[in-house]
């Protein structure tokens, strides 16, 4: 119950919530902007290419929907919520390093029109997320 009320508050305040697989979600009405955490970009190293989904694709929560390439490794990025992809960050085509320099703002990946708001309650608040990465 406590967790749920925290995430509801976060949604109201427009705070980021996080998936265990290190993606963040920022809600604006029913559109979720998705990116990866500062911790995740640090683990990846210098990003050289981002393969984004196409606008109109359907993302399934928990499924891989983008790939980020850094220091010779291709890493899957997972959709934290389900829904239609309504926008992708085209600035990453020319400047994939935005993921490293501004993971929480200019380095966002894509926007999803959220179908089921309940999926957000499965995600962690920033404090909860930071506590889990300390355990790693």
């Amino acid at each position: 119950m406590i967790n749920r009320s925290i995430s509801s508050t976060n949604r109201l305040l427009g705070a980021r919530v996080y998936a265990e697989s290190h993606e963040w979600v920022l809600m604006n009405e029913n559109t979720a902007t998705v990116g990866i955490s500062d911790h995740a970009q640090g683990m990846l190293g210098d990003v050289v290419f981002v393969d984004l989904p196409e606008v109109g694709d359907t993302a399934e929560a928990g499924n891989a929907c983008a790939t980020v390439e850094s220091v010779k490794a291709a890493s899957d990025i997972y959709a934290p919520v389900s829904g239609e992809i309504v926008e992708v960050n085209t600035a990453l085509e020319n400047e994939p390093s935005l993921i490293n320099t501004s993971p929480l703002d200019n380095g966002w990946l894509f926007k999803v029109k959220v179908q089921d708001g309940e999926q957000l309650s499965e995600l962690k608040s920033e404090d909860q997320y930071l506590a889990t990465i300390e355990d790693e």
């Binding site: 290419f49 393969d51 891989a64 390439e69 850094s70 010779k72 490794a73 890493s75 020319n94």
Partner: protein, 391 residues
């Protein structure tokens, strides 16, 4: 051993289904108990030398096996081929015409990194682990230790995760693929590749191409056999597998198992993955969007007067298809050629950026263009300039 790995994968799948019906605290206890089990190290050698078959087998092992308690080393080699990274541009990275002439296969892998040439003188090593066990430096150090234990040669691992011979020559390149629960790191080990074929295959003839794709980092290469000619495929496999399997506890004795991916239980699934890997839409179509801008000039003699024609060709290629082509010609006025170029702009859109596809279409346009003599000669030249971009 393949059977036992597959059985293990199936059992884990079965148990994970059962777990849903069991109280969560019980599952956590069981998981904790399992987690205390130490890791088992196993090694497989593929009997196939087909790049697409081996990449499919690698992908199959990756997707079907649970690597929480198993670290798997997969060893394989291929007939001559060029392998590009997940986000690379084959038109920029290799000499496609040379590959076709010499029957050298071209493949795109799922991992990142740069372009490599393989033949029977190259051993590929794939290290599969759980996500938290992924460690490229450890794998490369294991290889260096295995080789230097058997042969007296100077090998080091550099900051790019290449293995370097005598402080100068690259003998191994690395790439990796990661998801949230597992990952693999694979690398090449050049022991006796045809160095001149490698150079030719990887020397792209393409110019005037702008691309955001991952670029390769060319390096001076050498073969392990240059340092010691007793380093052969079988000897290398024996020493690498022995070093890897020595990580098992004393009571667990394993040896490397030779497997034919075409005859195991999952061969149908492997064939399906292989089909997808061979599709033009994957090998070429997966290329990030790119632009071409080329200029050509030619003197045409024997007309009413001597003419010099300038041609400016711009093309945009998206998903391997011609998104846009723009040709500007200066130095010769001809309504017929203008019309040919106008039709060409429309008719090439959506075509695969592929020599025989474009050649077929351009020939068709020339034959239906009503151009003769000088016009036709110039039309043919325009066609050869366009095809020069495709290799």
């Amino acid at each position: 051993m393949m059977t036992s790995l597959m059985t293990q994968a199936r059992l884990l799948q079965k148990y994970s289904k059962c777990f849903r019906d069991i109280p969560q605290h019980y599952v956590r206890n069981v998981t904790r108990t399992l987690a205390t089990h130490s890791t088992t190290y196993k090694a497989l050698v593929s009997k196939s030398t087909n790049i697409h078959k081996n990449l499919a087998f690698e992908q199959y092992l990756y997707s079907t096996i649970d690597f929480h308690h198993t670290n798997l080393l997969f060893l394989w080699r291929n007939d001559p081929c060029v392998v590009i990274g997940r986000h690379q541009n084959p038109w920029v990275e290799c000499n496609i015409g040379f590959l076709q002439e010499h029957n050298i296969a071209l493949a795109r892998r799922h991992s990142g990194g740069g372009t490599v040439y393989h033949d029977n003188g190259n051993l590929n090593c794939t290290f599969f682990t759980a996500r938290n066990g992924y460690n490229r430096k450890r794998n490369l150090n294991l290889l260096v230790e295995a080789i230097t234990k058997s042969w007296d040669i100077d090998l080091t691992v550099n900051e790019r995760d290449d293995i370097i011979l005598d402080g100068l020559y690259k003998i191994s390149g690395t790439a990796a693929k990661l998801d949230k629960t597992k990952g693999y790191h694979h690398c090449t080990l050049l022991f006796n590749v045809q160095a001149d074929t490698l150079q030719e295959a990887l020397s792209a003839t393409h110019i005037g191409c702008k691309s955001k794709a991952t670029a390769s980092f060319p390096a001076r290469i050498a073969n392990l056999a240059d340092a010691d000619n007793t380093i052969t495929y079988e000897a290398l496999i024996a020493s690498v597998a022995e070093q890897f399997l020595a990580q098992n506890r004393e009571n667990q004795v394993y040896s490397a198992e030779w497997v034919d991916p075409g005859s195991i239980e999952g061969c149908k699934d492997i064939n399906k993955i292989q089909e997808d890997l061979q599709k033009w839409e994957w090998v070429f179509g997966k290329t990030p969007p790119f632009h071409i801008h080329r200029q050509f000039r030619k003197d045409f003699k024997g007309y009413s007067s001597h003419v010099q024609i300038h041609l400016d060709i711009k093309a945009e290629i998206v998903c391997g298809l011609v998104e846009k082509i723009q040709i500007n010609m200066k130095g010769f006025d001809s309504k017929n050629i203008e019309e040919f170029i106008r039709v060409l702009h429309q008719e090439c859109i959506g075509l695969q950026f592929r020599k025989h596809t474009l050649e077929y279409k351009l020939n068709e346009l020339l034959n239906t263009s009503h151009m003769y003599d000088a016009d036709m000669e110039i039309g043919n030249w325009i066609m050869s300039c366009i095809l020069d971009n495709v290799q």
